[in-house]
Symmetry: C2
Subunit: 315 residues, 2 copies
Amino acid sequence: MRVLIALGGNAMTGPDGSAAPEEQEAAITEAMQHVAHLIVDGVDVVITHGNGPQVGNLLVKNEVAAAVVPPVPLDWCGAQTQGTIGFLIMDALEVALAARGLSRRTAVVVTRTRVDADDPGFTHPTKPIGRYLPAAEAKVLVEHGQTWEDRGSRGWRRVVASPEPLEILDAVAIETLADAGFVVVGAGGGGIPVVREPGGALRGVEAVIDKDLAADLLARAVRADVLVIATDVDHALVGYGTPAQRPIERATTAEMRGHLDTGEFASGSMGPKVDAAVRFVEGGGRRATITSLHQITEAVHGRAGTVIENETRKS
Amino acid sequence: MRVLIALGGNAMTGPDGSAAPEEQEAAITEAMQHVAHLIVDGVDVVITHGNGPQVGNLLVKNEVAAAVVPPVPLDWCGAQTQGTIGFLIMDALEVALAARGLSRRTAVVVTRTRVDADDPGFTHPTKPIGRYLPAAEAKVLVEHGQTWEDRGSRGWRRVVASPEPLEILDAVAIETLADAGFVVVGAGGGGIPVVREPGGALRGVEAVIDKDLAADLLARAVRADVLVIATDVDHALVGYGTPAQRPIERATTAEMRGHLDTGEFASGSMGPKVDAAVRFVEGGGRRATITSLHQITEAVHGRAGTVIENETRKS
Protein backbone atom coordinates (compact mmCIF):
# COMPACT_ATOMS: atom_id res chain seq x y z
CA MET A 1 0.00 0.00 0.00
CA ARG A 2 1.35 3.43 -0.96
CA VAL A 3 0.47 6.37 1.28
CA LEU A 4 1.13 10.03 0.74
CA ILE A 5 1.53 11.88 4.04
CA ALA A 6 1.10 15.64 4.00
CA LEU A 7 2.79 17.10 7.07
CA GLY A 8 1.44 20.38 8.35
CA GLY A 9 3.52 23.25 9.58
CA ASN A 10 3.05 22.06 13.16
CA ALA A 11 5.16 19.00 12.34
CA MET A 12 8.01 21.29 11.33
CA THR A 13 8.08 24.01 13.97
CA GLY A 14 8.10 24.46 17.72
CA PRO A 15 4.97 24.46 19.89
CA ASP A 16 4.70 28.25 19.59
CA GLY A 17 5.18 28.18 15.83
CA SER A 18 8.85 29.09 16.27
CA ALA A 19 10.98 28.18 13.29
CA ALA A 20 14.34 28.50 15.05
CA PRO A 21 16.68 25.80 13.73
CA GLU A 22 16.72 23.72 16.93
CA GLU A 23 12.92 23.90 17.18
CA GLN A 24 12.55 22.73 13.60
CA GLU A 25 14.95 19.85 14.18
CA ALA A 26 13.16 18.77 17.34
CA ALA A 27 9.74 18.92 15.69
CA ILE A 28 10.86 16.98 12.62
CA THR A 29 12.61 14.37 14.77
CA GLU A 30 9.35 13.84 16.64
CA ALA A 31 7.28 13.73 13.45
CA MET A 32 9.57 11.13 11.91
CA GLN A 33 8.94 8.76 14.81
CA HIS A 34 5.36 8.48 13.60
CA VAL A 35 6.32 8.21 9.95
CA ALA A 36 8.91 5.53 10.76
CA HIS A 37 6.27 3.55 12.59
CA LEU A 38 4.15 3.57 9.47
CA ILE A 39 7.06 2.41 7.30
CA VAL A 40 7.90 -0.41 9.72
CA ASP A 41 4.24 -1.35 9.43
CA GLY A 42 4.95 -2.15 5.78
CA VAL A 43 3.53 0.95 4.15
CA ASP A 44 5.23 2.56 1.14
CA VAL A 45 5.42 6.22 2.17
CA VAL A 46 5.80 9.41 0.12
CA ILE A 47 6.05 12.63 2.12
CA THR A 48 5.09 16.19 1.41
CA HIS A 49 5.13 19.10 3.84
CA GLY A 50 4.19 22.70 4.47
CA ASN A 51 6.70 25.52 4.81
CA GLY A 52 4.78 28.56 6.02
CA PRO A 53 6.89 29.63 9.00
CA GLN A 54 10.14 28.90 7.15
CA VAL A 55 9.16 30.92 4.10
CA GLY A 56 8.04 33.72 6.41
CA ASN A 57 11.49 33.78 8.00
CA LEU A 58 13.24 33.88 4.63
CA LEU A 59 11.08 36.77 3.48
CA VAL A 60 11.93 38.73 6.59
CA LYS A 61 15.65 38.10 6.03
CA ASN A 62 15.22 39.31 2.47
CA GLU A 63 13.64 42.55 3.64
CA VAL A 64 15.95 43.24 6.55
CA ALA A 65 19.09 42.59 4.50
CA ALA A 66 17.87 44.16 1.24
CA ALA A 67 20.30 47.05 1.41
CA VAL A 68 23.24 44.62 1.68
CA VAL A 69 22.25 41.54 -0.36
CA PRO A 70 19.88 41.41 -3.33
CA PRO A 71 16.53 39.96 -2.19
CA VAL A 72 15.37 36.80 -3.94
CA PRO A 73 11.80 36.21 -5.12
CA LEU A 74 9.26 34.20 -3.19
CA ASP A 75 9.55 31.16 -5.46
CA TRP A 76 13.26 30.98 -4.62
CA CYS A 77 12.41 31.09 -0.92
CA GLY A 78 10.13 28.10 -1.48
CA ALA A 79 12.92 26.22 -3.24
CA GLN A 80 15.21 27.02 -0.31
CA THR A 81 12.81 25.53 2.20
CA GLN A 82 12.53 22.34 0.15
CA GLY A 83 16.28 21.94 0.60
CA THR A 84 16.43 22.51 4.33
CA ILE A 85 13.25 20.77 5.41
CA GLY A 86 13.94 17.84 3.11
CA PHE A 87 17.46 17.47 4.46
CA LEU A 88 16.20 17.47 8.05
CA ILE A 89 13.50 14.93 7.22
CA MET A 90 16.01 12.55 5.61
CA ASP A 91 18.41 12.69 8.55
CA ALA A 92 15.66 12.28 11.15
CA LEU A 93 13.81 9.54 9.30
CA GLU A 94 16.91 7.45 8.69
CA VAL A 95 17.70 7.56 12.41
CA ALA A 96 14.13 6.71 13.37
CA LEU A 97 14.12 3.77 10.96
CA ALA A 98 17.52 2.51 12.11
CA ALA A 99 16.29 2.59 15.71
CA ARG A 100 13.57 0.17 14.56
CA GLY A 101 16.05 -2.07 12.78
CA LEU A 102 15.03 -0.95 9.31
CA SER A 103 17.32 0.46 6.66
CA ARG A 104 15.55 2.36 3.91
CA ARG A 105 16.93 4.92 1.51
CA THR A 106 15.39 8.38 1.58
CA ALA A 107 15.45 11.06 -1.11
CA VAL A 108 14.33 14.64 -1.54
CA VAL A 109 13.25 15.85 -4.98
CA VAL A 110 13.19 19.59 -5.64
CA THR A 111 9.69 19.98 -7.06
CA ARG A 112 7.94 22.53 -9.24
CA THR A 113 4.18 22.87 -9.40
CA ARG A 114 2.56 24.41 -12.44
CA VAL A 115 -0.09 27.06 -11.92
CA ASP A 116 -2.06 29.18 -14.40
CA ALA A 117 -0.68 32.65 -15.12
CA ASP A 118 -4.31 33.74 -15.44
CA ASP A 119 -5.29 32.42 -12.03
CA PRO A 120 -7.44 35.14 -10.43
CA GLY A 121 -5.09 35.12 -7.43
CA PHE A 122 -2.47 36.99 -9.44
CA THR A 123 -4.72 39.97 -10.11
CA HIS A 124 -6.38 39.82 -6.69
CA PRO A 125 -3.88 38.32 -4.23
CA THR A 126 -5.46 37.34 -0.93
CA LYS A 127 -3.00 35.09 0.92
CA PRO A 128 -1.26 36.94 3.78
CA ILE A 129 2.38 35.93 4.39
CA GLY A 130 5.32 37.09 6.48
CA ARG A 131 5.36 39.69 9.16
CA TYR A 132 3.45 42.89 9.84
CA LEU A 133 5.20 46.16 9.01
CA PRO A 134 4.46 49.82 9.68
CA ALA A 135 2.70 51.54 6.77
CA ALA A 136 5.76 53.55 5.74
CA GLU A 137 7.95 50.43 5.38
CA ALA A 138 5.23 48.51 3.59
CA LYS A 139 4.75 51.32 1.11
CA VAL A 140 8.38 51.10 0.04
CA LEU A 141 7.82 47.45 -0.83
CA VAL A 142 4.61 48.30 -2.66
CA GLU A 143 6.70 50.62 -4.84
CA HIS A 144 8.84 47.56 -5.62
CA GLY A 145 5.78 45.79 -7.01
CA GLN A 146 4.56 43.88 -3.97
CA THR A 147 0.98 43.95 -2.70
CA TRP A 148 0.57 44.89 0.96
CA GLU A 149 -2.67 45.41 2.85
CA ASP A 150 -3.55 47.54 5.82
CA ARG A 151 -4.52 44.97 8.48
CA GLY A 152 -5.43 47.51 11.16
CA SER A 153 -3.71 47.87 14.50
CA ARG A 154 -1.01 45.25 13.81
CA GLY A 155 0.14 47.10 10.71
CA TRP A 156 0.45 46.13 7.07
CA ARG A 157 1.00 42.63 5.73
CA ARG A 158 2.04 41.30 2.36
CA VAL A 159 -0.56 39.34 0.37
CA VAL A 160 0.28 37.04 -2.50
CA ALA A 161 -1.60 34.82 -4.90
CA SER A 162 -2.50 31.33 -3.77
CA PRO A 163 -3.21 29.86 -7.20
CA GLU A 164 -4.81 26.50 -7.85
CA PRO A 165 -2.10 23.86 -8.39
CA LEU A 166 -2.54 22.23 -11.82
CA GLU A 167 0.33 19.76 -12.16
CA ILE A 168 3.23 18.50 -10.06
CA LEU A 169 5.89 18.87 -12.74
CA ASP A 170 8.45 16.67 -11.03
CA ALA A 171 6.07 13.93 -9.94
CA VAL A 172 7.64 11.40 -12.32
CA ALA A 173 10.99 11.75 -10.55
CA ILE A 174 9.26 11.25 -7.21
CA GLU A 175 7.41 8.19 -8.47
CA THR A 176 10.55 6.73 -10.06
CA LEU A 177 12.36 6.89 -6.73
CA ALA A 178 9.36 5.63 -4.76
CA ASP A 179 9.06 2.68 -7.14
CA ALA A 180 12.78 2.00 -6.61
CA GLY A 181 12.17 1.70 -2.85
CA PHE A 182 13.04 5.16 -1.60
CA VAL A 183 11.00 7.05 0.95
CA VAL A 184 10.68 10.24 -1.07
CA VAL A 185 10.03 13.80 0.05
CA GLY A 186 8.57 16.00 -2.67
CA ALA A 187 6.46 19.04 -3.46
CA GLY A 188 7.48 20.71 -0.20
CA GLY A 189 5.50 23.86 0.49
CA GLY A 190 3.09 22.80 -2.27
CA GLY A 191 5.94 22.93 -4.79
CA ILE A 192 7.76 25.86 -6.33
CA PRO A 193 5.08 27.76 -8.27
CA VAL A 194 5.86 28.10 -11.96
CA VAL A 195 3.83 29.18 -14.99
CA ARG A 196 4.32 27.99 -18.54
CA GLU A 197 4.89 30.94 -20.85
CA PRO A 198 3.43 31.07 -24.36
CA GLY A 199 6.73 29.86 -25.87
CA GLY A 200 6.77 26.87 -23.53
CA ALA A 201 9.34 28.13 -21.04
CA LEU A 202 8.74 27.72 -17.33
CA ARG A 203 9.04 30.75 -15.07
CA GLY A 204 8.87 30.90 -11.30
CA VAL A 205 6.16 33.14 -9.89
CA GLU A 206 5.68 34.78 -6.52
CA ALA A 207 2.85 32.81 -4.99
CA VAL A 208 2.02 30.35 -2.23
CA ILE A 209 0.47 27.06 -3.27
CA ASP A 210 -1.76 25.33 -0.76
CA LYS A 211 0.25 22.29 0.26
CA ASP A 212 -2.82 20.09 0.79
CA LEU A 213 -4.21 20.77 -2.69
CA ALA A 214 -0.75 20.03 -4.10
CA ALA A 215 -0.66 16.85 -1.97
CA ASP A 216 -3.83 15.62 -3.68
CA LEU A 217 -2.22 16.08 -7.11
CA LEU A 218 1.00 14.43 -5.99
CA ALA A 219 -0.84 11.53 -4.36
CA ARG A 220 -2.69 10.80 -7.58
CA ALA A 221 0.44 11.24 -9.71
CA VAL A 222 2.40 8.71 -7.68
CA ARG A 223 -0.64 6.39 -7.54
CA ALA A 224 -0.99 6.51 -3.78
CA ASP A 225 -3.79 4.39 -2.32
CA VAL A 226 -4.30 6.64 0.69
CA LEU A 227 -3.79 10.33 1.36
CA VAL A 228 -3.14 11.22 5.00
CA ILE A 229 -3.30 14.88 5.92
CA ALA A 230 -1.51 15.17 9.26
CA THR A 231 -2.45 18.23 11.26
CA ASP A 232 -2.81 19.29 14.89
CA VAL A 233 -6.32 17.98 15.56
CA ASP A 234 -7.64 14.42 15.60
CA HIS A 235 -10.70 15.13 13.44
CA ALA A 236 -12.42 17.67 11.26
CA LEU A 237 -15.40 19.07 13.15
CA VAL A 238 -18.89 20.09 12.15
CA GLY A 239 -20.82 22.70 14.09
CA TYR A 240 -17.56 24.21 15.31
CA GLY A 241 -18.13 26.38 18.37
CA THR A 242 -21.84 25.48 18.62
CA PRO A 243 -23.64 23.12 21.01
CA ALA A 244 -23.93 20.72 18.04
CA GLN A 245 -20.14 20.52 17.53
CA ARG A 246 -19.02 16.97 16.82
CA PRO A 247 -16.04 15.25 15.21
CA ILE A 248 -16.51 13.67 11.80
CA GLU A 249 -15.33 10.09 11.96
CA ARG A 250 -16.46 8.75 8.60
CA ALA A 251 -18.01 10.46 5.64
CA THR A 252 -18.50 10.07 1.95
CA THR A 253 -17.13 12.61 -0.47
CA ALA A 254 -20.68 13.81 -1.07
CA GLU A 255 -21.23 14.40 2.63
CA MET A 256 -17.95 16.30 2.93
CA ARG A 257 -18.72 18.41 -0.15
CA GLY A 258 -22.00 19.29 1.53
CA HIS A 259 -20.16 20.46 4.64
CA LEU A 260 -17.72 22.45 2.48
CA ASP A 261 -20.63 24.12 0.66
CA THR A 262 -22.32 25.15 3.89
CA GLY A 263 -19.09 26.67 5.18
CA GLU A 264 -18.44 24.26 8.03
CA PHE A 265 -14.65 24.52 7.67
CA ALA A 266 -12.34 27.53 8.06
CA SER A 267 -11.23 28.73 4.63
CA GLY A 268 -7.51 29.05 5.32
CA SER A 269 -7.22 26.00 7.51
CA MET A 270 -9.50 22.93 7.58
CA GLY A 271 -11.26 23.96 4.36
CA PRO A 272 -8.43 23.19 1.92
CA LYS A 273 -7.61 19.98 3.82
CA VAL A 274 -11.14 18.68 3.40
CA ASP A 275 -11.18 19.91 -0.20
CA ALA A 276 -7.91 18.08 -0.95
CA ALA A 277 -9.11 14.89 0.76
CA VAL A 278 -12.39 14.91 -1.17
CA ARG A 279 -10.66 15.58 -4.48
CA PHE A 280 -8.30 12.66 -3.88
CA VAL A 281 -11.09 10.15 -3.27
CA GLU A 282 -13.18 11.57 -6.12
CA GLY A 283 -10.11 11.18 -8.34
CA GLY A 284 -9.93 7.47 -7.60
CA GLY A 285 -8.03 7.31 -4.33
CA ARG A 286 -9.10 4.54 -1.96
CA ARG A 287 -9.25 6.66 1.18
CA ALA A 288 -8.24 10.05 2.57
CA THR A 289 -7.91 10.82 6.25
CA ILE A 290 -7.38 14.01 8.19
CA THR A 291 -5.93 13.50 11.63
CA SER A 292 -3.16 14.32 14.05
CA LEU A 293 0.35 13.03 13.52
CA HIS A 294 0.29 10.52 16.38
CA GLN A 295 -2.67 8.74 14.82
CA ILE A 296 -1.38 8.34 11.27
CA THR A 297 -0.73 4.61 11.44
CA GLU A 298 -4.28 3.90 12.56
CA ALA A 299 -5.58 6.51 10.14
CA VAL A 300 -3.99 4.81 7.13
CA HIS A 301 -6.11 1.77 7.84
CA GLY A 302 -9.23 3.87 8.35
CA ARG A 303 -9.31 3.32 12.11
CA ALA A 304 -8.68 6.88 13.30
CA GLY A 305 -9.23 10.47 12.31
CA THR A 306 -11.75 11.78 9.83
CA VAL A 307 -11.96 9.08 7.18
CA ILE A 308 -13.30 9.95 3.75
CA GLU A 309 -14.21 7.17 1.35
CA ASN A 310 -16.60 6.79 -1.54
CA GLU A 311 -18.31 3.90 0.22
CA THR A 312 -18.77 4.58 3.90
CA ARG A 313 -18.01 1.56 6.03
CA LYS A 314 -19.61 2.57 9.30
CA SER A 315 -18.26 0.42 12.06
CA MET B 1 28.47 7.66 -22.56
CA ARG B 2 27.73 9.17 -19.13
CA VAL B 3 29.39 12.47 -18.26
CA LEU B 4 29.42 14.32 -14.99
CA ILE B 5 29.71 18.07 -15.50
CA ALA B 6 30.88 20.15 -12.56
CA LEU B 7 29.82 23.75 -13.10
CA GLY B 8 31.91 26.42 -11.44
CA GLY B 9 30.57 29.49 -9.74
CA ASN B 10 31.12 31.51 -12.91
CA ALA B 11 28.41 29.48 -14.61
CA MET B 12 25.99 30.58 -11.90
CA THR B 13 26.70 34.27 -11.37
CA GLY B 14 27.15 37.48 -13.32
CA PRO B 15 30.42 38.58 -14.92
CA ASP B 16 31.39 40.50 -11.77
CA GLY B 17 30.54 37.59 -9.49
CA SER B 18 27.19 39.19 -8.68
CA ALA B 19 24.64 36.74 -7.39
CA ALA B 20 21.61 38.97 -7.87
CA PRO B 21 18.66 36.81 -8.97
CA GLU B 22 18.50 38.13 -12.54
CA GLU B 23 22.27 37.68 -12.93
CA GLN B 24 22.06 34.09 -11.71
CA GLU B 25 19.20 33.35 -14.09
CA ALA B 26 21.05 34.85 -17.05
CA ALA B 27 24.25 32.95 -16.27
CA ILE B 28 22.47 29.63 -15.80
CA THR B 29 20.46 30.15 -18.98
CA GLU B 30 23.71 30.68 -20.86
CA ALA B 31 25.41 27.68 -19.22
CA MET B 32 22.49 25.41 -20.09
CA GLN B 33 22.92 26.18 -23.80
CA HIS B 34 26.23 24.37 -23.62
CA VAL B 35 24.88 21.52 -21.51
CA ALA B 36 21.92 21.10 -23.86
CA HIS B 37 24.28 20.86 -26.80
CA LEU B 38 26.04 18.00 -25.10
CA ILE B 39 22.78 16.20 -24.40
CA VAL B 40 21.63 16.62 -28.01
CA ASP B 41 24.98 15.12 -28.93
CA GLY B 42 23.78 11.91 -27.27
CA VAL B 43 25.62 12.17 -23.98
CA ASP B 44 23.99 11.07 -20.72
CA VAL B 45 24.62 14.07 -18.44
CA VAL B 46 24.68 14.39 -14.65
CA ILE B 47 25.28 17.90 -13.30
CA THR B 48 26.84 19.21 -10.14
CA HIS B 49 27.61 22.84 -9.34
CA GLY B 50 29.31 25.24 -6.98
CA ASN B 51 27.45 27.66 -4.73
CA GLY B 52 30.06 30.01 -3.24
CA PRO B 53 28.51 33.40 -4.03
CA GLN B 54 25.02 32.16 -3.16
CA VAL B 55 26.06 30.75 0.21
CA GLY B 56 27.94 33.97 0.88
CA ASN B 57 24.74 35.95 0.30
CA LEU B 58 22.73 33.70 2.61
CA LEU B 59 25.30 34.04 5.37
CA VAL B 60 25.16 37.81 5.10
CA LYS B 61 21.37 37.74 5.31
CA ASN B 62 21.66 35.57 8.38
CA GLU B 63 23.97 38.06 10.07
CA VAL B 64 22.13 41.22 9.08
CA ALA B 65 18.74 39.84 10.12
CA ALA B 66 19.94 37.95 13.21
CA ALA B 67 18.13 40.26 15.63
CA VAL B 68 14.82 39.64 13.85
CA VAL B 69 14.97 36.05 12.57
CA PRO B 70 16.97 33.15 14.05
CA PRO B 71 20.06 32.53 11.87
CA VAL B 72 20.39 29.08 10.35
CA PRO B 73 23.63 27.09 10.25
CA LEU B 74 25.90 26.95 7.22
CA ASP B 75 24.78 23.44 6.24
CA TRP B 76 21.21 24.73 5.96
CA CYS B 77 22.43 27.54 3.72
CA GLY B 78 24.01 24.91 1.47
CA ALA B 79 20.75 22.97 1.35
CA GLN B 80 18.95 26.19 0.43
CA THR B 81 21.24 26.82 -2.53
CA GLN B 82 20.68 23.28 -3.82
CA GLY B 83 16.99 24.15 -4.03
CA THR B 84 17.33 27.46 -5.84
CA ILE B 85 20.19 26.66 -8.20
CA GLY B 86 18.72 23.26 -9.03
CA PHE B 87 15.34 24.81 -9.77
CA LEU B 88 16.92 27.39 -12.10
CA ILE B 89 18.97 24.72 -13.87
CA MET B 90 15.90 22.56 -14.50
CA ASP B 91 13.87 25.43 -15.94
CA ALA B 92 16.71 26.70 -18.13
CA LEU B 93 17.80 23.26 -19.34
CA GLU B 94 14.31 22.18 -20.30
CA VAL B 95 13.91 25.34 -22.40
CA ALA B 96 17.33 24.88 -24.02
CA LEU B 97 16.51 21.27 -24.85
CA ALA B 98 13.06 22.11 -26.21
CA ALA B 99 14.64 24.75 -28.48
CA ARG B 100 16.69 21.89 -29.93
CA GLY B 101 13.66 19.66 -30.36
CA LEU B 102 14.54 17.40 -27.47
CA SER B 103 12.34 16.58 -24.53
CA ARG B 104 14.17 15.17 -21.54
CA ARG B 105 13.10 15.04 -17.93
CA THR B 106 15.27 16.81 -15.38
CA ALA B 107 15.48 16.28 -11.63
CA VAL B 108 17.24 17.81 -8.66
CA VAL B 109 18.20 15.61 -5.73
CA VAL B 110 18.92 17.25 -2.38
CA THR B 111 22.27 15.68 -1.55
CA ARG B 112 24.26 15.10 1.61
CA THR B 113 28.00 14.44 1.60
CA ARG B 114 29.58 12.62 4.51
CA VAL B 115 32.74 14.04 6.03
CA ASP B 116 34.83 12.94 8.99
CA ALA B 117 34.09 14.68 12.30
CA ASP B 118 37.83 14.33 13.01
CA ASP B 119 38.86 16.06 9.78
CA PRO B 120 41.64 18.49 10.73
CA GLY B 121 39.64 21.30 9.13
CA PHE B 122 37.27 21.31 12.10
CA THR B 123 39.99 22.09 14.62
CA HIS B 124 41.91 24.37 12.25
CA PRO B 125 39.41 25.93 9.83
CA THR B 126 41.08 27.64 6.88
CA LYS B 127 38.44 28.26 4.23
CA PRO B 128 37.38 31.95 4.11
CA ILE B 129 33.71 32.55 3.31
CA GLY B 130 31.27 35.44 3.22
CA ARG B 131 32.01 39.11 3.66
CA TYR B 132 34.57 41.11 5.60
CA LEU B 133 33.42 42.70 8.83
CA PRO B 134 34.93 45.23 11.24
CA ALA B 135 36.69 43.59 14.20
CA ALA B 136 33.98 44.56 16.68
CA GLU B 137 31.22 42.89 14.67
CA ALA B 138 33.34 39.81 13.98
CA LYS B 139 34.10 39.40 17.66
CA VAL B 140 30.41 39.15 18.50
CA LEU B 141 30.16 36.22 16.09
CA VAL B 142 33.28 34.65 17.58
CA GLU B 143 31.48 34.70 20.92
CA HIS B 144 28.72 32.72 19.21
CA GLY B 145 31.23 30.00 18.35
CA GLN B 146 32.34 31.03 14.88
CA THR B 147 35.97 31.38 13.80
CA TRP B 148 36.91 34.74 12.28
CA GLU B 149 40.37 35.89 11.24
CA ASP B 150 41.93 39.30 11.01
CA ARG B 151 42.63 39.70 7.28
CA GLY B 152 44.26 43.12 7.56
CA SER B 153 42.99 46.30 6.00
CA ARG B 154 39.79 44.75 4.59
CA GLY B 155 38.71 43.61 8.04
CA TRP B 156 37.87 40.23 9.54
CA ARG B 157 36.51 37.26 7.65
CA ARG B 158 34.89 34.02 8.73
CA VAL B 159 36.85 30.81 8.15
CA VAL B 160 35.30 27.36 8.19
CA ALA B 161 36.44 23.80 7.70
CA SER B 162 36.75 22.47 4.17
CA PRO B 163 36.81 18.78 5.05
CA GLU B 164 37.62 16.00 2.63
CA PRO B 165 34.41 14.55 1.15
CA LEU B 166 34.17 10.83 1.91
CA GLU B 167 30.87 9.69 0.46
CA ILE B 168 27.99 11.18 -1.53
CA LEU B 169 25.21 9.80 0.65
CA ASP B 170 22.45 10.38 -1.87
CA ALA B 171 24.33 9.16 -4.92
CA VAL B 172 22.07 6.12 -5.32
CA ALA B 173 19.05 8.38 -5.78
CA ILE B 174 20.96 10.38 -8.37
CA GLU B 175 22.05 7.23 -10.20
CA THR B 176 18.54 5.75 -10.07
CA LEU B 177 17.13 8.82 -11.79
CA ALA B 178 20.00 9.05 -14.28
CA ASP B 179 19.47 5.38 -15.18
CA ALA B 180 15.78 6.13 -15.69
CA GLY B 181 16.68 8.79 -18.27
CA PHE B 182 16.62 11.97 -16.21
CA VAL B 183 19.22 14.69 -16.48
CA VAL B 184 19.97 14.89 -12.78
CA VAL B 185 21.41 17.73 -10.72
CA GLY B 186 23.02 16.58 -7.47
CA ALA B 187 25.61 17.33 -4.80
CA GLY B 188 25.26 21.06 -5.38
CA GLY B 189 27.89 23.05 -3.52
CA GLY B 190 29.74 19.79 -2.90
CA GLY B 191 26.74 18.44 -0.99
CA ILE B 192 25.39 19.30 2.44
CA PRO B 193 28.18 18.35 4.85
CA VAL B 194 27.14 15.79 7.46
CA VAL B 195 29.02 13.65 9.93
CA ARG B 196 27.96 10.26 11.20
CA GLU B 197 27.76 10.28 14.97
CA PRO B 198 28.85 7.30 17.09
CA GLY B 199 25.26 6.04 17.38
CA GLY B 200 24.88 6.17 13.59
CA ALA B 201 22.84 9.35 13.32
CA LEU B 202 23.72 11.93 10.70
CA ARG B 203 24.23 15.52 11.74
CA GLY B 204 24.82 18.55 9.53
CA VAL B 205 28.05 20.44 10.19
CA GLU B 206 29.17 23.95 9.37
CA ALA B 207 31.69 23.44 6.61
CA VAL B 208 32.29 24.02 2.91
CA ILE B 209 33.04 20.96 0.81
CA ASP B 210 35.12 21.50 -2.31
CA LYS B 211 32.65 20.92 -5.13
CA ASP B 212 35.26 19.45 -7.49
CA LEU B 213 36.41 16.83 -4.98
CA ALA B 214 32.75 15.97 -4.36
CA ALA B 215 32.26 15.82 -8.14
CA ASP B 216 34.93 13.12 -8.39
CA LEU B 217 33.11 11.00 -5.78
CA LEU B 218 29.76 11.55 -7.43
CA ALA B 219 31.14 10.79 -10.89
CA ARG B 220 32.48 7.45 -9.68
CA ALA B 221 29.31 6.66 -7.73
CA VAL B 222 27.09 7.17 -10.78
CA ARG B 223 29.61 5.32 -13.01
CA ALA B 224 30.35 8.29 -15.23
CA ASP B 225 32.80 7.64 -18.06
CA VAL B 226 34.04 11.21 -18.17
CA LEU B 227 34.33 14.01 -15.61
CA VAL B 228 34.23 17.52 -17.07
CA ILE B 229 35.20 20.36 -14.78
CA ALA B 230 33.85 23.51 -16.39
CA THR B 231 35.56 26.67 -15.28
CA ASP B 232 36.48 30.09 -16.68
CA VAL B 233 39.71 29.16 -18.48
CA ASP B 234 40.29 26.85 -21.43
CA HIS B 235 43.20 24.96 -19.87
CA ALA B 236 45.16 24.39 -16.71
CA LEU B 237 48.53 26.11 -17.06
CA VAL B 238 52.05 25.22 -16.00
CA GLY B 239 54.63 27.89 -15.33
CA TYR B 240 51.88 30.36 -14.54
CA GLY B 241 53.14 33.95 -14.76
CA THR B 242 56.62 32.89 -15.99
CA PRO B 243 58.11 33.01 -19.50
CA ALA B 244 57.64 29.23 -19.62
CA GLN B 245 53.86 29.47 -19.07
CA ARG B 246 51.99 27.05 -21.31
CA PRO B 247 48.60 25.37 -21.38
CA ILE B 248 48.40 21.68 -20.60
CA GLU B 249 46.55 19.94 -23.40
CA ARG B 250 47.07 16.29 -22.53
CA ALA B 251 48.63 14.66 -19.53
CA THR B 252 48.69 11.40 -17.64
CA THR B 253 47.60 11.26 -14.04
CA ALA B 254 51.26 10.79 -13.07
CA GLU B 255 52.27 13.94 -14.92
CA MET B 256 49.47 15.93 -13.28
CA ARG B 257 50.34 14.57 -9.82
CA GLY B 258 53.87 15.77 -10.47
CA HIS B 259 52.61 19.26 -11.26
CA LEU B 260 50.41 19.21 -8.15
CA ASP B 261 53.39 18.17 -6.01
CA THR B 262 55.57 20.98 -7.34
CA GLY B 263 52.84 23.53 -6.60
CA GLU B 264 52.01 24.50 -10.19
CA PHE B 265 48.35 25.12 -9.37
CA ALA B 266 46.72 27.63 -7.02
CA SER B 267 45.56 25.85 -3.88
CA GLY B 268 42.07 27.32 -3.67
CA SER B 269 41.38 27.32 -7.37
CA MET B 270 42.99 25.14 -10.05
CA GLY B 271 44.62 22.84 -7.45
CA PRO B 272 41.45 21.05 -6.30
CA LYS B 273 40.20 20.83 -9.90
CA VAL B 274 43.34 19.03 -10.99
CA ASP B 275 43.26 16.91 -7.85
CA ALA B 276 39.65 15.89 -8.52
CA ALA B 277 40.37 15.15 -12.19
CA VAL B 278 43.38 12.98 -11.32
CA ARG B 279 41.49 11.11 -8.61
CA PHE B 280 38.67 10.35 -11.02
CA VAL B 281 40.97 8.83 -13.65
CA GLU B 282 43.00 6.98 -11.01
CA GLY B 283 39.70 5.63 -9.66
CA GLY B 284 38.86 4.06 -13.01
CA GLY B 285 37.30 6.93 -14.96
CA ARG B 286 38.06 6.96 -18.68
CA ARG B 287 38.91 10.64 -18.94
CA ALA B 288 38.74 13.91 -17.01
CA THR B 289 38.92 17.33 -18.61
CA ILE B 290 39.23 20.82 -17.24
CA THR B 291 38.05 23.53 -19.59
CA SER B 292 35.74 26.47 -20.14
CA LEU B 293 32.02 25.98 -20.49
CA HIS B 294 31.85 26.76 -24.22
CA GLN B 295 34.24 23.90 -24.96
CA ILE B 296 32.57 21.12 -22.98
CA THR B 297 31.20 19.21 -25.96
CA GLU B 298 34.63 18.96 -27.55
CA ALA B 299 36.19 18.33 -24.16
CA VAL B 300 34.00 15.29 -23.49
CA HIS B 301 35.56 13.64 -26.52
CA GLY B 302 39.04 14.65 -25.50
CA ARG B 303 39.41 17.25 -28.22
CA ALA B 304 39.60 20.41 -26.10
CA GLY B 305 40.72 21.64 -22.72
CA THR B 306 43.19 19.95 -20.42
CA VAL B 307 42.62 16.25 -20.96
CA ILE B 308 43.76 13.79 -18.31
CA GLU B 309 43.85 10.10 -19.13
CA ASN B 310 45.82 7.14 -17.91
CA GLU B 311 47.08 6.51 -21.42
CA THR B 312 48.07 9.71 -23.13
CA ARG B 313 46.97 9.84 -26.72
CA LYS B 314 49.04 12.69 -28.03
CA SER B 315 47.56 13.93 -31.28
